[in-house]
Symmetry: C2
Subunit: 223 residues, 2 copies
DNA sequence: CGTTGTGAACTCATTCACAGCT
DNA sequence: AGCTGTGAATGAGTTCACAACG
């Protein structure tokens, strides 16, 4: 079959925006009808809502994957994107804050399918301790630092109230966590070696209101 | 080439990124100790984690709000940001898909406080109909178009499975909705006059993995 | 042919540096 | 003095346009 493990030549560094688009491309490419054995930049572009030039620019950054006049091999392309995004392996994560949002994320199918596994649950509410959710037992936050290290979790999902988020984040840092996905509406201050992605739901709604209010218009279909 | 429109009040159009930062500034400014009657770009910058020049550039786009040598008046500034973002008024929204995530959002405090009110709940699962959550009764999606118009909702929050998201979105469009906050992991195709903000949780985790994997591409910033 | 890959042009966004006001 | 507002410079990101190739 495909011996696609050539030397990992990286042509250029991917921007955040580019990496985000790659995630979208991956969805499209991964779901491509298995009957088809090629996919073109134009087809990806249309499915995702960006320009074909953008798609080619992004994919070219991963190496020479396409055949001129033909297109890309969906399977090879999907694998290359996974590798570039760092999701060609399993990631272990803990979840802190087993409230409504935390539970929703736990049951969200998309995570495990993409290689993310929640391996620990923590909460400060004594009433929630020892509850079992999705096969995991809720543990007290006091054990967070020790247990996170023991569980060998590299990532953490933070769904705690805003006023405790910074303290919890520091416990995670102490446990040697490498990245935090934060849903608390605060700006966390972390050491530079710990990566942070914050998803602020209220801000997203504000963005929507802003766009509606402001009659934000753009000539082509976009975003 | 393009004749610029006649917008006179605003000095320049806000980019999406700028609007997002304004939301963050608003948090900081709104919480500013009421004893203090001024706040400087440097203070905002430090709280939010951007440069002071960035803050001044963003705020200058809202008009001349600052006093040279002094700073900004927190109350006046907060109001100006709210107006610019379009959250100086109430927004009515419906929520479609009363699953775990939908429930989490419903109970999320941040929304109502910022002027967003959920005025209708819809789900396709008969078992959920007539449940009462946060004072609202769950209605069948078949009523979505008619009820959304009757409720005078301008925005919608979509927390339905991926495979039904497009159809539900079209029902909302038929009801005259103006903006959709979409949590389904799909690229929705909407008419251009309907604004769309998509929050894809799996993609955010992938972003985090990508950043961790790739070490750092961000210059060390303040502390 | 059709499609990729990419220099070049272009647009958008951020930082610099300092004039101008308090 | 301190701080804002902004032209100019820089940088990042996107599109254009076309050569290169199966």
């Amino acid at each position: 079959m495909n011996l696609d493990n050539q030397s990992t030549e990286r042509h250029q560094r991917l921007s955040r925006a580019a990496a985000q688009r790659l995630s979208l491309y991956l969805r499209c490419v991964g779901r491509w009808p298995s009957g088809e054995d090629t996919i073109s930049s134009g087809q990806i572009a249309e499915a995702v809502g960006v320009s074909d030039a953008q798609v080619r620019r992004d994919l070219a950054a991963l190496g020479h994957l396409g055949q001129r006049g033909v297109g890309y091999d969906p399977r090879e392309l999907a694998q290359a994107i996974r590798t570039a995004l760092g999701i060609d392996r399993q990631w272990r994560a803990v979840l802190v804050g087993v409230g409504n949002l935390g539970r929703a994320l736990l049951k969200y199918q998309g995570f495990r399918a993409q290689g993310f596994e929640i391996v620990g649950l923590f909460d400060s509410d004594p009433a929630k301790l020892d509850q079992e959710i999705e096969g995991l037992r809720v543990e007290p936050v006091e054990h967070l630092t020790a247990r996170t290290a023991a569980l060998q979790a590299e990532l953490a999902v933070l769904t705690v109230p805003a006023d405790t988020a910074q303290a919890v984040a520091e416990s995670l840092v102490a446990a040697g966590i490498r990245g935090i996905l934060n849903f608390a509406p605060v700006v966390l201050k972390l050491p530079r070696q710990v990566r942070l992605v914050t998803v602020d739901l209220a801000i997203q709604l504000e963005q929507l209101a802003f766009q509606v209010q402001h009659g934000d218009f753009r000539p082509p279909e976009d975003d």
